[in-house]
Symmetry: C2
Subunit: 229 residues, 2 copies
């Protein structure tokens, strides 16, 4: 039965977002110069499922991410699977797309020749259906920002309230009212004070540092808690 129906090409592609210099950025990787399709072109990082190494699709994504960046993602969630005859010139192909959030300082092993962070708005030109994948990732992360602590996974483990508001503004692509934002954050029990810590960010009084509360962390079954310890 399996032989009767040869299987499509299966890859995973991952939309990796970070906040850098106050701007929401997307990770691109350059395809090999001798790639059969789109050689040398900048695309979403991705790769084939290696059936001998990966026990699950998530293993594939994590391996791809680790290989391209030397880091670990802080938050990973599946977006959608794109599959059709015409999305890849090699034939019937299927890509399981993921969304990953990562704080900038956690990605230290980037190969600067082959990877780069680019602003996600406006979305850069990308081959295949990668722009559609990015669009879906932005919708997902904006949608979840409206009711959850998701954007905080773009920050270091401890952060100031102005940093938290800045990351929401970057994700939502809109300015927020400071007092409304602080009230909502307090109501939702999203953050707790990080014991003893204060950030010295300028000439004024040092700002209080916060971290995500345990419920806010637990909201996300897919969170890789180990990266936040």
């Amino acid at each position: 039965m399996i032989d009767d129906f040869p299987n499509p090409i299966v890859t995973t592609d991952v939309v990796v977002l970070t906040l850098k210099d106050g701007v929401l950025r997307l990770l691109l990787a350059q395809r090999a110069a001798d790639a059969a399709v789109a050689p040398g072109v900048w695309t979403l990082p991705g790769g084939f499922v290696h059936m001998d190494k990966d026990r699950s699709l998530e293993d594939t994504v994590r391996r791809v991410f680790r290989t391209k960046t030397g880091g670990e993602v802080a938050y990973l969630e599946q977006l959608c699977t794109f599959g059709s005859t015409d999305r890849d010139p090699r034939g019937w192909s299927l890509s399981v797309a993921y969304l990953a959030l990562v704080p900038e300082h956690k990605v230290t092993g980037l190969d600067e020749q082959r990877t780069r962070w680019v602003p996600v708005r406006p979305c850069p030109d990308l081959p295949f259906d990668h722009r559609a994948i990015v669009t879906q990732a932005l919708e997902r992360v904006r949608g979840k920002a409206a009711y959850s602590s998701l954007p905080a996974f773009l920050l270091p483990d401890t952060f100031t309230l102005p940093q938290l508001m800045a990351v929401y503004e970057a994700v939502l692509d809109q300015q927020l009212d400071q007092s409304t934002f602080r009230r909502k954050v307090a109501e939702q029990g999203m953050i707790v004070k990080a014991r003893g810590a204060r950030a010295h960010t300028g000439a004024g009084r040092p700002a209080a540092l916060y971290k995500l509360s345990r419920p806010a962390l637990q909201d996300f079954g897919r969170v890789l808690l180990s990266t936040r310890d």
Copy 2:
């Protein structure tokens, strides 16, 4: 490169829900008696991508549905892709799971020997990871019922207000307050009166018939409008 990485088995599985006798029901299909794995077992309807016939994953799902039921789905949305070494004894396999809603009267070609509707709560025993897929489908449909007209796709094109409330109660698995429900439906502009039509359901005054408003229909990009004309 493709030859270096042989591809996993790719299937689609679909959680088909309908409302029958006031109960939310799930469509099961019996596997062939000579199937290599789980012969004769009742499972979610599913099948391989036929690369020669299907232009996209949605084509695969629609073909599977048509083959097993003789009908067309009223609403179709992708749920999630499950992929790992151990979900299928045949090896590394990947299933792209879909949620489909269908009004009972639209499914007239069921092979009664090989398909059946079973109550979805409690979830029946199912092989592979099909229970996890059903759980995810129920979460999705319940979640969307809280803010959208999705459950109405389980009804005929025209329906009474009591029928509409009953379908929300079946999906949410809880009793609703009639006046609150009617107020919310009115506020959201979800339905409009179906011109001239009234339902004779009992001895009393005939009940007004409604249909989904155009905005409510358009909320769902994936709706196959043709089935509701």
